[in-house]
Symmetry: C2
Subunit: 375 residues, 2 copies
């Protein structure tokens, strides 16, 4: 027998989470996680699942029947959308202006699709004119995929304009709203978005690990009309559907019961505040943080009209050891801010004001700590 390790319970430090997610989780949500576990087919749990779908429809501003949380992180939400909507050989217009657009393209490739890339510089929004030109050159494209709020750069793209172009060319639209949902308007039905995925740990302020998704009737029709089965058993929506909807719920996989309690509570808190009030709070707190960052001499990466209020990306000042600075923030102040990803690694900081983290107290701490660390 291999001997048992001598270890103790893990007591995490208390942090203030102002990176690109996870964001601070409110005590109400943490308390919900610790409620007694029930079975995944318990009638009481099935009732809660129905409420979750209703709360998600409000959050996504959609009437889509097929709206539910995937039992896995946002990356799986992305993959679920791609492997269901893309059949081998399909042409997909994929917009890349950061890490997550790249990941979308990689998912399309692995699903056997042919991505046609629309590239924009990191830190800029997707250019609708380029998307239009690409559809003209590829009228066979059946899907447009883009990232609404690029978590790697802090840029917001014009989802309504992009979806309108796809619609004109007879294509469906798939939108990543991992970082946008709950922080800025996300209006699936008004904009005509056919499929969207998000994450629980950003502006929804739940713990990481769940990925809300929603599919329009046109998306469901495409899934139903597939000639080849979805390559993933777990992500095959034609199978998942029996568990998340219908009169009789049938076993598909064992849902993550307690994390779903947490998501229910966090969505309820958002509904209590109201979406418009939450968007306004994110805007107000962004302006407050921005004033302080600019007073410290920090410059924003993204131009003002495409800047995400919930994810503030600034250039690391010349001569500053950015990793050492983040380590000091974490060790001395218990404050987490985000490093750069991909081509932005070592060059930018990403300061999140997402969900419960978007509070004046967090801003005051962040500005005071940054002032100290930047000397």
């Amino acid at each position: 027998m291999i001997a048992r390790p001598e270890l103790r319970s893990f007591q995490p430090p208390v942090r203030t989470l102002m990176g690109p997610g996870p964001s601070d989780v409110p005590p109400r949500v943490l308390a919900a996680l610790a409620r007694p576990t029930v079975g995944h087919l318990d009638p009481a749990f099935v009732g809660m699942m129905d409420e979750l779908k209703e709360l998600l429809r409000y959050t996504f501003q959609t009437r889509n029947e097929l709206t539910f949380p995937v039992s896995a992180p946002g990356s799986v939400g992305m993959e679920t959308c791609v492997v269901n909507l893309v059949s081998p050989g399909d042409t997909v217009v994929v917009c890349i202006n950061g890490v997550f657009g790249q990941r979308l393209a990689e998912n399309v490739r692995r699903a056997g699709g042919v991505p046609v890339i629309v590239e924009d510089p990191w830190g800029e929004p997707v250019d609708p004119a380029k998307v239009e030109d690409t559809f003209k050159a590829h009228p066979e494209a059946s899907l447009l995929a883009f990232v609404h709020a690029e978590t790697s750069t802090g840029a917001l793209s014009d989802a309504a304009a992009l979806a309108a172009i796809a619609r004109r060319f007879g294509a469906l639209t798939l939108m990543d709203c991992v970082t946008s949902l709950g922080g800025v308007p996300v209006l699936l039905d008004e904009w005509g978005i056919d499929a969207a995925y998000s994450g629980s740990q950003k502006c929804l302020s739940c713990t990481p690990g769940l990925s809300p998704v929603s599919f329009s009737e046109a998306a469901v029709a495409r899934i139903r009309a597939r000639k080849t089965p979805c390559q993933s058993w777990f992500q095959d929506l034609s199978l998942v559907l029996g568990y998340w909807s219908g009169a009789k719920r049938t076993y598909h996989h064992t849902a993550p019961v307690n994390p779903l309690y947490g998501l229910h509570e966090s969505l309820l808190m958002l509904a209590e505040e109201g979406l418009e009030a939450a968007w306004q709070r994110h805007r107000d707190n962004h302006l407050r943080l921005r004033a302080g960052l600019e007073a410290l001499g920090l410059r924003f990466v993204v131009r003002e009209d495409a800047r995400l209020p919930q994810l503030n990306t600034v250039w690391v000042p010349d001569g500053v050891d950015e990793a050492a600075a983040r380590t000091r923030l974490l060790k001395e102040y218990g404050l987490e801010i985000g490093a750069g990803l991909g081509v932005f690694a070592g060059k930018v900081w990403r300061i999140g004001l997402m969900g419960h983290s978007s509070r004046p107290a967090n801003i005051a701490l962040c500005l005071a700590a940054l002032k100290d660390v930047l000397g």
Copy 2:
């Protein structure tokens, strides 16, 4: 705007969970879930990830470096094993003696593999002689896949014998130990199992949503030698590795932070008790429950030498409305037992004594409630 729903916090009922999982979650684990969320790249969290791997190696009885929890339910652990180990065109011997063997075969098909089925009746263990004959007929087979403890029937197969056959034919072995891990001996290294996946919500007594996996050096070598990329981005172990091991941890996906606190605590409790003591407890409590069930006139589905102590499958007596009986157990006693799946639907009950649910108090409640309901 779509109006906000008027809902309240979800307060789950308190249940006694004696189905096929989730099982009762001890208060220590529930409390761990509610600890403060930290970032998924926080040094404190990375330290806990290392402890988790160590605890899982003890639980699986393996020295495999590549041992970690997949950030999703057991079905994704299964799919992760299959899509990494199976390349298009590979022949895979798949043993089917219940629902989860069927699911393995379906996963092999969707990964482009060619399953060769070894079929045994539901309720019986996998027959090693049939596996041997199948390998003789299919010497090209590169993988054997089987379910150690069939959750749909309660039958335990002889993993050591099956892995030895695969080894003789130069094939790797993939084992489902979702229901066995922590309840009966699972000895990956001693038996020569190359890949295994489990679930957090059975004999580990954590909440559902995580899937511990482990891969031998031979399995890792096969993954490294793949000529086609893994079809799944999220499940591609060559990418996941950078986050779960190595000197510098790189971002892959955002790990489910709080659920991992829970898994750490539940594995720690198992290590404190000791694997041998836990196996003995499961055996002792099974005998106690068995005596009571037989006194009620209930008959076991599985023959004695292949019976799982943690999952007791009995025939529903003639003339009993099984769904109505389960509803009474749930409503009057807050007791959940499992229904039959697949060909066993409506014919059997599955009574779990898994992990924290394997306690004399639960057995006393279950027997008294069944006696009442069976009248």
